[in-house]
Subunit: 232 residues, 2 copies
């Protein structure tokens, strides 16, 4: 049964099985094709969305999209509907995606009676807030090589270390996280590659000179001085 | 008694008086001078801070500060300590400031037994997340006049409308929100003033041409075309 997967979601840990069942029964499953809009900015959505499979991009802006989050299986979004607020961003399927749509009033009722659910939601929000602070710092960096270095180091830390980052998104989508164009990102990747900082192979990026990346992300300068300006 | 003010904090609405009293007794008051650091980035703080009076700036980065939030009386920060996470930013007093330091384990205990407190915290976090999304969109705008227009319109909406924004911070601090230097901000303010968009008088900014500000913030261009590049 599809609903079984709900029991393995970190957000529902500690919740009595009875309640998990009720959750599953009150929700309805919905499929979206890659590129399809799930919810639009300022839309009054009265539901939370749980990703069953696929990938969802949360972004702001219309003329120029700025990606804020990427969500995968087991992740919940549109928590703002709990505060009766319109959706503060847009959500789009990046792959073919299946979501479970949970009515927010039902989830609010349940959360008020099940402190463990409420506490899990609080923890989820705290982690999201932390991620958004990282993105704010990244976007406050002026040069794209700096932003990319900061993104790479942060992503490696999130995946628990290692030297190789396997991107789950295209370079085009990565550009929308870094607040730049695909053309600039491609140029920056090439330059950082030929400078021996990274090695790019398809969607995998290997760090070759972590110290240089750290210096770059801290703003202590591109190791080759004035070339920084050529890149951006 | 100083603790009486706790009863009027939105976060503690719905909490039995007995619990509010316990909160007050378990906390300790601490004063900070303007410019003093309250908590540093990555510090393992085991407490939440409630602003009693004064003003607190939350920021990231050392070489280049990026302001993320400004908090005033009645606002709580360092909620990340509830998730046992180090403080993801730095907190600094912007005026002489008094805070109530509340141990996070005590607050966590209480929150788990008082769903109303937990729910109020959730709402607080949702609002903060929404604000951070606005800042992300603002920083994704390339030109400073665009960022300023977006900031002005958003701040007016937050204060519930009107045409005059009374800044509670200096232009120097405003520059740190907009991710620019005080010099650039001053130039942009002057230019937008002489173009008839705004009128700046000390810390008060009056909108003179809201339609132009909206066009600018939406990225449909500075009304005088190529002058946009001169400004940034």
């Amino acid at each position: 049964m599809e609903d079984r997967f709900l029991r393995y979601i970190p957000l529902f840990q500690g919740l009595p099985e009875e309640q998990v069942k009720r959750l599953a029964e009150s929700g309805r499953y919905k499929n979206f094709k890659s590129g399809e809009l799930i919810a639009g900015e300022e839309e009054k959505v009265k539901a939370l969305f749980l990703v069953v499979w696929g990938k969802v991009k949360i972004f702001r802006g219309s003329e120029k999209e700025q990606t804020i989050y990427l969500f995968g299986p087991g992740e919940l979004f549109c928590l703002t509907s709990l505060a009766d607020e319109p959706f503060p961003a847009s959500a789009m399927a990046l792959d073919d995606t299946r979501v479970l749509v949970l009515p927010s009033d039902m989830l609010e009722d349940m959360a008020k009676r099940e402190p463990s659910l409420l506490f899990n939601m609080l923890i989820t929000l705290i982690r999201r807030l932390k991620e958004s602070m990282h993105l704010i710092e990244l976007l406050s960096l002026k040069e794209i090589p700096q932003r990319l270095a900061s993104f790479l180091l942060h992503s490696l830390a999130l995946q628990g270390g290692g030297d190789v980052l396997a991107l789950t998104i295209s370079q085009r989508e990565l550009a929308k996280i870094l607040g730049t164009t695909p053309e600039t990102l491609s140029r920056v990747l090439k330059k950082m590659g030929s400078d021996g900082m990274i090695a790019v192979k398809g969607r995998s990026i290997r760090m070759r000179d972590r110290a240089a990346l750290e210096r770059l992300s801290e703003g202590t300068g591109y190791p080759h001085g004035s070339q920084q300006n050529i890149l951006t």
